[in-house]
Symmetry: C2
Subunit: 352 residues, 2 copies
Amino acid sequence: MNSRFKFLYLNLLLLFSLSGKAQEKITIGEKQIISSTILNEKREIWIHLPKTYNDPGINPAKYPVIYLLDGEINFDYYTGMSDFLAKPPYADMPECIVVGIKNTERTRDLTPTKSQKKSPVNPGVVLFNDSGGSENFVRFLQEELKPFISKNYRTQNYSVLAGHSFGGLFAVNVLLTHPEYFNAYVANDPSLWWDQKVLISKTKEYLEKNKKFPMHKTLYVSQANNEEQNKNWNSDMTQAIEEFKEIIEKSGSLNYKHHFFEDEVHGTVSYPGNYDAVKFIFKGFRTDIKKLSENPKLLEEDYARFSEKAGTVFSPSETYLNTILKFMNNNGFKESEDYFLNLKNRLYPKIK
Amino acid sequence: MNSRFKFLYLNLLLLFSLSGKAQEKITIGEKQIISSTILNEKREIWIHLPKTYNDPGINPAKYPVIYLLDGEINFDYYTGMSDFLAKPPYADMPECIVVGIKNTERTRDLTPTKSQKKSPVNPGVVLFNDSGGSENFVRFLQEELKPFISKNYRTQNYSVLAGHSFGGLFAVNVLLTHPEYFNAYVANDPSLWWDQKVLISKTKEYLEKNKKFPMHKTLYVSQANNEEQNKNWNSDMTQAIEEFKEIIEKSGSLNYKHHFFEDEVHGTVSYPGNYDAVKFIFKGFRTDIKKLSENPKLLEEDYARFSEKAGTVFSPSETYLNTILKFMNNNGFKESEDYFLNLKNRLYPKIK
């Protein structure tokens, strides 16, 4: 064995023995880097694919996409939640691809106007010098990130934008400036106090001009118990959210839910807020498998009703149909089994 | 280059180019295999370490452990949740190690007695032939799994057992037979109807004999809206849980919460139940960082109060103290900063 050969050989051995010793990791996604021309920087994106995405036993499916701001904070629990809630037979939502967007300059990206504020705790410090870049950031989402996701993953034409605090402010601003970009918007305890409540004025202007929001748009707003926060930070967080609520409810043209969380503060409300939000956005998606044995047509009726509400066609997934078929077979509901076999063959022609 | 050398060389190249192309994965845990003598089988265990576990900037810390039944179903969202809820400065719970236990023979492991039942949907099918092995399974937990975890990971002497359905039945049974094994028990929609409500009888017997449960034990029970389920499956799920609730509340010797989820069914209640459960178990853990600037002693008072309730000493983590120090420094609270610097040096002597 010459020495170079020996060196390589030992390296190979080392490599294999290391990988042999390593425990199997549990992974929930992968990181991708996108070079953004619009933002003139590289952006790190965390991508989660639902459990069935690479299932060789079913036809390749397309999935709605949830764009999640502050990705580094919310990605782990959000993806666990969306997978769990999408599990048949009690699925509260469709399986979704989740795209977490990691921050670089958070204030720059998420705020709609240039505005500054003296720190309420230390007036010597001026905050938010880099604010006002949200229009650029939404262009990045629409013109660079979404095409990247659609090109590399199988996406259905339904998307959600979810943010918290400045991220909630951003989501509301996108709804006002580009309502067509997303189907549903989630704003957890949004910072609508921003720049003398500039988005409240903008909402009023929008409704004066357009009378109503486009059809089939959903907005979910959570509100934390910020009494303590308002006192300490001199903030009108609560008042701005409540003013906004009144305007939106009066307009009546959004599929809108506002929920106040008595036991949550600004920093903790995202977790239950995001759960409550998907339950609201996808309300009507869950169907009752047990009722289907007697009335198999109910499935398509339920999906038609939900699709009408969502403004996009949702069909029962192949995985759900397989679950239904197994249920009917196990319990001897032969007629219903035949019905769903036909439906499955129609929706999902067999893989060769 | 001889041919063998060439072959190895090409393999090496291939290996490196593959690993170079692979995206960085986002991982939340690792799988371990334990050979159980008690169960006479290999068991797959999923282990999640909290974010700071391997942080080289802090002293190696010890963490409470949450043992999660039906690991393969609950691990992903549970670990995301516990990390999020443990994030300073608004931590609702301490950072925890989460140990998910994957099923092999679920009914065997989780049921306390041998009992059978005809399928309510198809009376020709007899269910639960393999039931009644829970005493063996709890011995596995106590004598094999816990020592394995303590030996391989840095654990604090505080542990939680969490289960759903048969897993909830199991958790209640462990509380009745070995209350000293865990500090807190979570039973999501537990199958207390099991074997003619054998655990209801057992609870009555326990209380007749012992008068009360040991000090500092916590039990959380969630209940789904099973009206539909009861109708279809001829089950007395709801009635059994409510009977149990009455007995436990009357005894008054547990730190006990029962919560009914109007909008959840048996298959979906675990998610909000597990969230509500940790909020209850660790109630009093969250401290208000803003109040600490004026009254730094509050931190130790809060922790002393929580420790008293939990029956175990909990101290502010080094990570939380660092967060507090940064907050005091950023906002010019010099006196408080000094106070917490002293506290930190006392609790966490510097790493050499």
